[in-house]
Symmetry: C2
Subunit: 147 residues, 2 copies
């Protein structure tokens, strides 16, 4: 029983293409062929993918989606709360299909990224911030390497 969340049973992902279309519409996103294809890749399970990985996955069989569209779509999905951007690797952004509250474990030697369930980290004190500041997110990142 690992303390680290590897694959969740907590989050429900769309099971069918129709589910995915509903999910996009509910989020206020027009479901296009490309967005559906990208959604199928991302929302199949909890995972962390870079834009390059999504681009490759989506075009495995034949070229279906352009680079610009992948970048645009990831941005749109993130804006609408379907994805979370994770900034831990200086060379690329990860997109996390798990949008429930949780934190991250980053292996700086290999570049791997894992989720840490929210209940395994407790931030018990935060600074008082000026009232004109809106908190978007409190990220806790544990940077580790194997030894």
């Amino acid at each position: 029983m690992s303390i680290i969340l590897t694959m969740s049973e907590l989050e429900k992902f769309p099971k069918t293409r129709a589910d995915l279309v509903v999910m996009l519409r509910n989020a206020g996103i027009t479901p296009t062929h490309q967005r559906i294809k990208i959604g199928e890749v991302l929302f199949s399970r909890e995972q962390h993918l870079s834009a390059e990985q999504v681009l490759a996955a989506v075009n495995q069989e034949d070229d279906e989606v352009s680079k610009a569209t992948v970048y645009n779509t990831l941005g749109v999905f993130a804006e609408h709360g379907l994805l979370r951007e994770v900034i831990v690797d200086p060379s690329k952004v990860f997109y996390d299909s798990n949008v429930s509250k949780h934190h991250h474990l980053f292996y700086s030697d290999t570049g791997e990224l894992e989720d840490i369930a929210d209940e395994n980290i407790e931030v018990s004190k935060l600074p008082n911030l000026p009232s004109d500041l809106q908190i978007e997110e409190v990220d806790v990142i544990i940077r580790v390497h194997r030894n």
Copy 2:
């Protein structure tokens, strides 16, 4: 009396060039002209600078230090504990001349970065990690925007 640390009175920075040379030697870094110049920029006070900013600052008068050397030197300083790499902005790495324990406040709208004193954040629970993992750092980043 802001809760956020803006400029520390806790950390001592080298006051003279000779101080800086000693600081580099103590860290096991050969003090070259370029490293001293870069050190003078960075260790004048607590600040967060990107490589580009360091490059510009160092070459304000005349071209003294190449791009490759700036990148190399920032890496060397970070490896030897004189700087802390802060990965919060997807487009660039910040180098923090404050290496004492503290956390960060990131303004995602403007790209500004501020320190939060360690005593203003408390992480009271961490996951049990496999014993072959070495923790390098636990980063807490509060992402905010003005409203």
